[in-house]
């Protein structure tokens, strides 16, 4: 075949792939907006699931994701700090780094099964704490890897300047190293928050779901994502419409947090 023709065909096919990819994004977003916005009413936000709204689901989903972050962010950051500042490149550090990398891609449903065995079955029922733990387990490896990579970008001279001023090691880490890696770490936290707030599989049989407004983490806990899964399979039109508005709101939240995170790093440069 003519090489120039072959060249043209391949380049066209590549461009076509990009167009296909973007079309799917717009197709999904357009569908969500069209189906979602038309079925949102004021009562969608003011009522709980039992009365056809998603107030309790939004509060529940955010409560679990926020508490999970409060657990995962400090643990993940401390782990990242140890890997980068204290481990001195030891063998153990590289094992931990690798395992944490693998954990990042572990199937979320398996994490759900694991948490069920430890925190649901022994306590006799679904509970909000179990959901939080499952989300935190998903989040920790992401925070570790972000912190690790961001601390690596901090120039050695800054640390040396700290030592020259007579700062102790942990003061240098807290007041100099972390400070200069702040933006990158915050972006990582936002991106991982955007990821766990949209998770369904690890919640299915840990916190499960609740139709009512509750803040009691020892009971079944309301979840936006689990509700979407349930509502979508109900035959009646009202449930489906609610599932669409819930999907629209969830996607909007996830994409806004995600874009905020990206925007922050862009400003840095």
């Amino acid at each position: 075949m003519n090489r120039l023709l072959l060249n043209k065909i391949i380049l066209m096919l590549s461009t076509l792939s990009a167009i296909i990819g973007i079309s799917f994004l717009f197709w999904i977003l357009a569908t969500l907006t069209y189906k979602g916005v038309s079925s949102i009413h004021l009562s969608t936000f003011s009522q709980d699931l039992v009365n056809g709204g998603i107030r309790n689901l939004l509060v529940g989903q955010f409560t679990m994701a926020i508490i999970a972050s409060l657990i995962a962010v400090p643990l993940g950051m401390f782990a990242g700090i140890w890997l980068r500042e204290y481990s001195n490149g030891s063998k153990l550090a590289s094992i931990i780094r690798n395992l944490s990398d693998v954990m990042m891609s572990a199937p979320s449903i398996v994490i759900g099964v694991f948490v069920y065995a430890l925190f649901v079955a022994p306590f006799g029922g679904y509970n909000g704490f179990a959901g939080i733990i499952a989300l935190a387990i998903m989040m920790i490896p992401i925070i570790i890897s972000t912190t690790d990579n961001m601390l690596a970008l901090v120039p050695k001279e800054l640390r040396e300047a700290g030592v020259a001023l007579g700062g102790s090691k942990h003061k240098i880490i807290l007041q100099i190293v972390i400070k200069s890696a702040k933006v990158g770490i915050t972006t990582g936290v936002l991106l991982s928050f955007a990821r766990i707030i949209g998770e369904t599989a690890p919640l299915l049989f840990t916190s499960a779901n609740s139709q009512f407004f509750t803040m009691d983490l020892t009971e079944q806990f309301p979840s936006l994502t689990v509700s979407i899964y349930n509502l979508a399979t109900y035959p009646d039109e009202a449930s489906r419409e609610l599932a669409w508005s819930a999907s629209f709101i969830l996607t909007a939240i996830v994409l806004i947090i995600n874009l905020t995170g990206r925007y922050m790093t862009r400003n840095k440069k």
Binding site: R3, S17, W82
Partner: protein, 285 residues
């Protein structure tokens, strides 16, 4: 004093991910004991999944159908996703004008950020009917699940492939152009061989993602315990079976569910490790 505490706590946090991983493995293994003891490796080939109504400690459970369903849906996804992701990566590194690179990259990354349950909703109500009218069948089934799965993993594959294609030194490409090579020849003979490791790594990593994907597939694969005879037939997969039936299972059936989770965990562990450490290289700076 404070420094010591700080150091010790950070060491404790670092070892935590190690213990979680060991914890997952040992918990799954322990709870799967009953089923492993009953069925051993024959579990992998057993086509029957039947609980006994009176006694939860007997029954016949084999993982063949969900295992095959997982493999087939993943295979379909990989066949569709790989060329498209390569195309997108080539577009972003070699073709797109500077002003286009950023918006297209962001669009592809947003595609990756959309929660999987949304892909499920959209797939069930908008994509499945299209598949049904084009290929027949019931709408939900292997093909629908495979295609939507492909859309979900394309961004991951494209992003990693793009990053590794970006590492190709311009000098190499320029010398090929100087010899009169076309863009395609440069991609095929310079860019691809140079970034081979990253490309293969991205494909395997995406494979690992596809294997464990739950919610989108749960909407779309049909959740029927049968071996598919056509590509449009509904079947089930390991994550989907777990998502739908895990919490209601008891006794030996529950143990068999843990067995399936263990298999999924080990397989993804191996796949991800191979991708990360063999092809993508350790990211130690």
């Amino acid at each position: 004093m404070g420094g010591r505490l700080f150091k010790n706590f950070s060491f404790f946090s670092a070892t935590l991910s190690f213990f979680i991983l060991i914890g997952i493995f040992s918990i799954l293994f322990t709870y799967a004991q009953d089923s492993i003891h009953h069925f051993g490796f024959d579990f992998l080939g057993g086509e029957i999944w039947e609980a006994d109504e009176d006694d939860e400690d007997i029954g016949i459970f084999g993982g063949f159908i969900p295992i095959v369903g997982t493999m087939l849906s993943t295979t379909i996804a990989m066949i569709i996703a790989t060329p498209l992701a390569m195309g997108i990566a080539i577009f972003l590194t070699e073709i797109a004008h500077k002003t286009l690179i950023k918006p297209v990259s962001i669009a592809i990354e947003l595609l990756a950020a959309i929660p999987s349950i949304i892909y499920g909703m959209w797939g069930l109500f908008y994509f499945a009917p299209i598949i049904q009218s084009t290929f027949g069948g019931q709408g939900v089934g292997l093909l629908t699940a495979g295609i939507v799965l492909a859309i979900m993993i394309i961004p991951f594959m494209a992003a990693i492939t793009r990053d590794s294609m970006n590492t190709v030194p311009d000098v190499l490409k320029e010398s090929a152009y100087a010899m009169g090579a076309t863009k395609f020849e440069v991609i095929k003979d310079v860019v691809m061989p140079y970034s081979k490791g990253g490309i293969i790594g991205s494909i395997i990593l995406a494979l690992g993602r596809a294997l464990g994907e739950t919610m989108a597939v749960a909407f779309l694969i049909g959740s029927v315990m049968q071996i598919p005879s056509k590509i449009t037939d509904p079947t089930t997969s390991i994550p989907v079976l777990l998502a739908n039936n895990f919490s209601e299972a008891q006794g030996l059936e529950m143990s068999s569910m843990y067995y399936l989770a263990l298999i999924l965990f080990i397989v993804s562990f191996i796949i991800i490790s191979v991708a990360k450490f063999y092809f993508l290289g350790k990211k130690v700076k």
